[in-house]
């Protein structure tokens, strides 16, 4: 009975994480389209939510990486998964509070690794999965997106140099609708799967699925797709503003280049099963599209804060996951610990949102 309660809490927490993932990463797909006025904010967010939902059904390869390639699934208990999720949600909320586009994927992986280490030591962390599938791609992906967007925008400016600005801007705004749509689809494919992987880990820990028979049940796919789409629709406006207008003030060609670079890198990585951060990629693309036009066009202070958050994400979420596991265990091995932590987190979320509401809306007309 106790394990069933913990399992239900874990699934609800995983879906809550998925919601914050969509909420936090809405900017990934729509920030540049909103910033260049290619689409209205509400239309862009609605389109992204629908395509996030559709994208979640397309592939399950990344879910398998998260569910079976980062930590030994046989060593995982529902409480470990719960603590990892709380670590990830807490880090997502902290970075959202400061408007920083950090990686929800890395928060999740960091949280999970931290709670596994706290519970069982380092022996159950799959080093080659963590380094080869997460850390190295995390270092390469934003740089790659930066390069692709930078070269891409230089090509664009060369090709359309002799044209009047009006048709060029209009043309690239149209292109942004397509590239933003593809990005939203890729984001759904990439990010919803991480929650699917975690819920499947919980199913393994609960004894519903054998560790050597990793597969994602249909209800997990549908619920994860719905949660990320709802989160995306809610719109994380603070991060949309950072990505869309605080890194660079972009034109529609730069927006298209950043989105095109982002989509290309994400799709290529997704094809090889790397659980890449879509947020890192699009932020790298935006910086590249700005730096290629003029180095001083990029607000390097903002970019520095973003990169700092990237570097901190895995260790910080890991620490929070480990701490959560420790706090949970104070209450024993039953459902009491997860219940107390969930209630405490809910109260903290209400307090943070109330404080933000007092400070007024985060999205301005320019964002």
């Amino acid at each position: 009975m106790g394990s069933d309660v913990v399992f239900v809490i874990v699934v609800v927490t995983a879906l809550a994480f998925d919601f914050t993932n969509g909420f936090h990463d809405t900017a990934t797909a729509v920030a540049t389209s909103i910033s260049t006025r290619a689409m209205s904010p509400r239309l862009a967010v609605t389109m992204a939510a629908l395509l996030n939902f559709a994208g979640a059904f397309i592939s399950l390869k990344v879910a398998a990486t998260v569910g079976s390639g980062i930590v030994e699934s046989s060593a995982v208990t529902p409480t470990i998964v719960f603590a990892g999720l709380i670590g990830a949600i807490a880090w997502n909320l902290i970075t959202w509070y400061f408007g920083l586009p950090s990686s929800s994927s890395h928060a999740l992986i960091g949280g999970l690794v931290g709670s596994v280490i706290a519970a069982t030591g380092t022996g159950n962390v799959i080093a080659d999965g963590l380094v080869g599938k997460v850390i190295i791609p995390a270092l390469i992906a934003p740089v790659l997106a930066f390069l692709v967007a930078a070269i891409g925008i230089l090509v664009v400016y060369r090709v359309v140099a002799a044209l009047r600005p009006g048709p060029v801007t209009g043309g690239f705004k149209l292109g942004q609708i397509a590239s933003g749509g593809l990005l939203a689809l890729a984001h759904g494919t990439n990010d919803a799967q991480k929650t699917m992987g975690v819920i499947t880990l919980a199913l393994i820990a609960h004894g519903d699925i054998a560790p050597n028979n990793f597969h994602v049940p249909e209800w997990v796919v549908i619920s994860a797709a719905s949660a990320i789409a709802l989160g995306t629709y809610s719109g994380g406006w603070r991060i949309i503003r950072t990505v869309g207008s605080r890194i660079i003030k972009m034109d529609s060609a730069q927006g298209f280049s950043a989105q095109g670079a982002g989509a290309a890198v994400i799709l290529a990585a997704s094809h090889y099963g790397y659980p890449l951060s879509t947020t890192h990629v699009i932020s790298g693309g935006v910086m590249g599209a700005g730096a290629a036009k003029r180095l001083s066009a990029v607000r390097w202070g903002v970019a520095g804060n973003i990169v700092g958050a990237w570097l901190l994400t895995i260790p910080a979420a890991g620490l929070m996951g480990a701490l959560t596991y420790g706090i949970t265990r104070i209450f024993g091995t039953g459902a009491a610990g997860p219940l107390v932590v969930s209630i405490a987190l809910l109260l903290a979320i209400v307090a943070v949102f109330a404080r933000r509401l007092q400070q007024g809306p985060a999205l301005t007309a320019e964002a």
């Binding site: 592939s59 080869g132 043309g171 593809l182 689809l185 095109g260 799709l267 997704s270 090889y272 790397y274």
Partner: protein
């Protein structure tokens, strides 16, 4: 150090990701630029009653747009082929 890195990281797969990203990202951006160029110039030539040039630019625009549509289709196939 290098052998450990080789054990942990599939450099060949990462290399393919890098190459595919560069080719697809820059290729699609360039193709879309030519689609904009072709369409805009074609309309300008048509207004100037230069039908041959207008047709040539229209063909350029259409071909470039086809490349972009093809890239989107390939992208969706890549996503779904796992």
């Amino acid at each position: 150090m290098v052998p450990i890195a080789d054990q942990l990281v599939d450099w060949a797969a990462l290399g393919k990701v890098v190459v595919a990203s560069l080719v697809a990202g820059i290729g699609v951006t360039a193709a879309f630029s030519f689609a904009v160029l072709g369409t805009t110039r074609s309309l300008e030539m048509r207004r100037a009653r230069r039908s041959v040039e207008a047709s040539a630019f229209a063909v350029l625009g259409a071909l470039a747009a086809a490349v972009c549509v093809g890239a989107v289709v390939v992208g969706i196939i890549v996503m779904s082929s796992k």
